[in-house]
Symmetry: C2
Subunit: 143 residues, 2 copies
């Protein structure tokens, strides 16, 4: 299998950066939210409440576009276009969230997940269709 997420792109993705996740809502409006994520195999994993607009919209319209920039150089970023699968398994989502949270808050991840409300969560699995690296410099080419 050809990996879509590899090499220098994978290095960027393994930084504790944040993902801007764009989706389409029912009715056509777009949503663009800042998310924690983790790479697993050739996917991005994210978590959302099962009842959220995000989880419900993705079940109807799975197309996503994710932008992730190097926290130390916003001119260097990845755009990942793909499709999201919503896995309605609260236990799996919480187990995954512990892994994801560890990237951002380290040892506090266990206590963080343990303290969550009982509101069911879903696992969002983003499979890339197209990955594009934009390598800008502090003075980039315009647009």
């Amino acid at each position: 299998m050809t990996m879509m997420l590899a090499g220098a792109d994978l290095e960027l993705l393994q930084l504790p950066a944040f993902a801007a996740l764009a989706i389409q809502l029912p009715g056509g409006a777009l949503q663009n939210t800042i998310m924690w994520y983790r790479v697993d195999q050739d996917t991005l994993r994210m978590i959302a409440p099962a009842a959220s607009a995000k989880a419900r919209a993705l079940q109807r319209s799975p197309q996503v576009a994710v932008a992730i920039h190097d926290p130390d150089n916003s001119y260097d970023y990845l755009e990942i276009r793909g499709h999201a699968e919503v896995v309605a398994d609260d236990a799996a989502a919480r187990a995954e969230l512990r892994e994801i949270a560890g990237r951002y808050i380290g040892e506090r991840a266990g206590a963080y997940v343990a303290a969550l409300s009982d509101t069911p969560r879903v696992l969002i699995v983003v499979r890339p269709d197209r990955v594009r690296r934009h390598r800008g410099a502090p003075v980039p080419a315009a647009g």
Copy 2:
């Protein structure tokens, strides 16, 4: 007129942060790219090449969602949903780009714009329909 971009949200927008701009491409895929921007009155201004996929797509499908996070605290961000107008006026786009670039590269903005290729640029004017501030903490509520 009620301003959509005001108060603490305007303070965040006036930081030299970057915008993740989500749009819909012909065929339904989404695009999410990292952009320079500037606030003017109650709009966001951005620049793109006239021939870019972005400029062409926005003329067909003006819905956008913009996510902008505080560079010093990614848990604090704005999501702006709105509509974009594409203004095909290269001179106006270059004049605006000089203003926008000044936010990011200061005095170098003039030389930067002067050195651009002749490729025509367009001005993208984003008018907000809905502005939502997400104020997270370093350990946020999940999703």
